[in-house]
């Protein structure tokens, strides 16, 4: 006998103001092939258009000559404010294609709500995330860091592993939810709050945790970029050493460069130069965090306090595909124009996904995770900054690193 297409379920008692019994179209009942998750055009189009218009009003995306974007507004404001240590203020605050769209989505969702007819289309976020993660692969070419030398690369790798492990360990002492701690670890070790969003589907973190964690990482980085130059000036290290220490100790590219230029012109140039070392190792950072948390969940599968990767039964297939693409990128399969074209699609992809994420979040879901995340970020970030400065200073003094 043929299964009914919909399964009637009375969820009137669950709805705030029910007027009639609701009908839940269970996915299993309507599934014909894996393409069934695309839904019909009629169902998906309103949400897709919502994402599209938020994305093109947020960022200057390839193929869309729209001058009225949040990105252009921030650029205008940057010119009004003037550079901070040679860096645009909104770059230091990590304005980019993810956060612009997320911010506009938050504003739209909180000001006007999210109509029901958008929701099937907005669920495309779950297709856009693996799509974007895989297409990021060609962006990280290890040989780009080779010119920096083995010493700085080894130092960056060690910093990455130690920071991630320290974050995950201290999160238990500070009683930070393990999903949020994982996201913070990803943001800190990669130095890029993009990684917080990338980790969201792997860790099964809540959207509010991701945004809360990212705000903490950005705020700490901004404060660190003000304090670090003062520390560097009190250490007797070369401008090149200072640039390396700031690139690895602060993490985020624009914040590290800003701190570098505050310490001195050459230190600023070197902070940008060594930023690429941190950048190409970024996938190792979020893969390490996922691996640690997934292994932990397998070991403590009956522990209710272990939430990170809960619901992830095996390593997601798209991570294997990402690893293969990353490996192919490192043998230079993706030549430069193709790489640029792929990265332009990544911008499209994450702009659309971030719009859906922003729409999903009432502001209280960001604040409800409180300040523990910021405390953890500040503690680990401070330890990392001091440790990196100490290690670079010791290496230079003892001649283990010639910079």
């Amino acid at each position: 006998m043929r299964q009914p297409l919909t399964r009637p379920v009375d969820v009137a008692s669950q709805c705030k103001a029910p007027v009639e019994p609701c009908v839940v179209p269970a996915y299993g009942y309507r599934r014909v092939s894996f393409l069934s998750c695309l839904y019909s055009l009629e169902e998906a189009l309103p949400g897709l258009l919502a994402m599209f218009f938020i994305a093109i009003c947020s960022n200057n995306l390839m193929g869309v000559p729209n001058p009225f974007t949040l990105e252009n507004l921030f650029t205008y404001l940057d010119n009004v404010i003037g550079p901070v240590n040679g860096q645009p203020f909104f770059q230091i605050m990590n304005s980019n294609f993810v956060w612009n769209a997320l911010l506009l989505g938050l504003i739209v969702g909180n000001a006007f709500g999210v109509p029901d007819c958008w929701k099937r289309g907005l669920s495309y976020i779950h297709k856009l995330m693996p799509l974007g993660i895989i297409m990021l692969g060609p962006h990280f070419v290890l040989s780009h860091a080779a010119k920096a030398g083995l010493g700085p690369i080894a130092l960056a790798a060690a910093m990455l592993l130690v920071t991630a492990s320290l974050t995950l360990w201290l999160s238990r002492l500070l009683k930070v939810d393990d999903r949020q701690a994982s996201v913070i670890a990803g943001g800190l070790v990669t130095g890029d709050p993009h990684a917080c969003v990338i980790l969201m589907p792997m860790i099964k973190a809540k959207g509010g945790q991701v945004v809360n964690a990212s705000i903490g990482v950005i705020l700490f980085g901004a404060v660190a970029s003000l304090v670090a130059p003062w520390l560097v000036r009190h250490l007797d290290i070369s401008a090149q050493g200072a640039g390396l220490a700031l690139a690895l100790g602060i993490g985020n590219g624009a914040q590290a460069v800003s701190a570098g230029f505050d310490a001195g012109y050459e230190a600023g140039r070197y902070a940008g130069y060594y930023g690429i070392v941190r950048h190409v190792l970024m996938p190792a950072g979020f893969l390490y965090v996922f691996a640690v948390m997934f292994w932990r969940k397998l070991r403590h599968s009956h522990d209710a306090s272990v939430q990170a990767t809960r619901g992830v039964e095996s390593v997601p297939l798209y991570l294997y595909v990402f690893a293969v693409v990353w490996a192919l990128a490192n043998i230079h399969l993706f030549k430069e124009p193709a790489h640029h074209a792929i990265f332009n699609l990544v911008k499209w992809d994450f702009s659309l996904a971030a719009a859906a994420l922003g729409l999903s979040l009432p502001l209280r879901e960001i604040w409800v995770w409180g300040l523990r995340g910021l405390a953890l970020t500040s503690l680990v970030g401070t330890i990392r900054l001091l440790a990196v400065l100490a290690v670079v200073w010791a290496c230079l003094k003892n001649g283990w690193l010639v910079l």
């Binding site: 599934r31 069934s36 099937r120």
Partner: protein, 50 residues
């Protein structure tokens, strides 16, 4: 528990929920699209179409 106002529609569909067979299918669509797009762009490069 009340339905999430921003993500759940009146039928109970929550667009941020992602699990089970539907999650696998969504991942599969993402993977197919990613490989298709990257393959196409890379092929264009190797065929000298840029």
């Amino acid at each position: 528990m009340n339905p999430h106002p921003h993500t759940t529609d009146k039928t109970g569909f929550d667009y941020m929920a992602n699990s089970g067979r539907e999650e696998q299918d969504r991942d599969a669509v993402g993977i197919v699209l990613a490989l298709g797009l990257m393959g196409l762009l890379t092929l264009c490069q190797y065929l000298g179409l840029y």
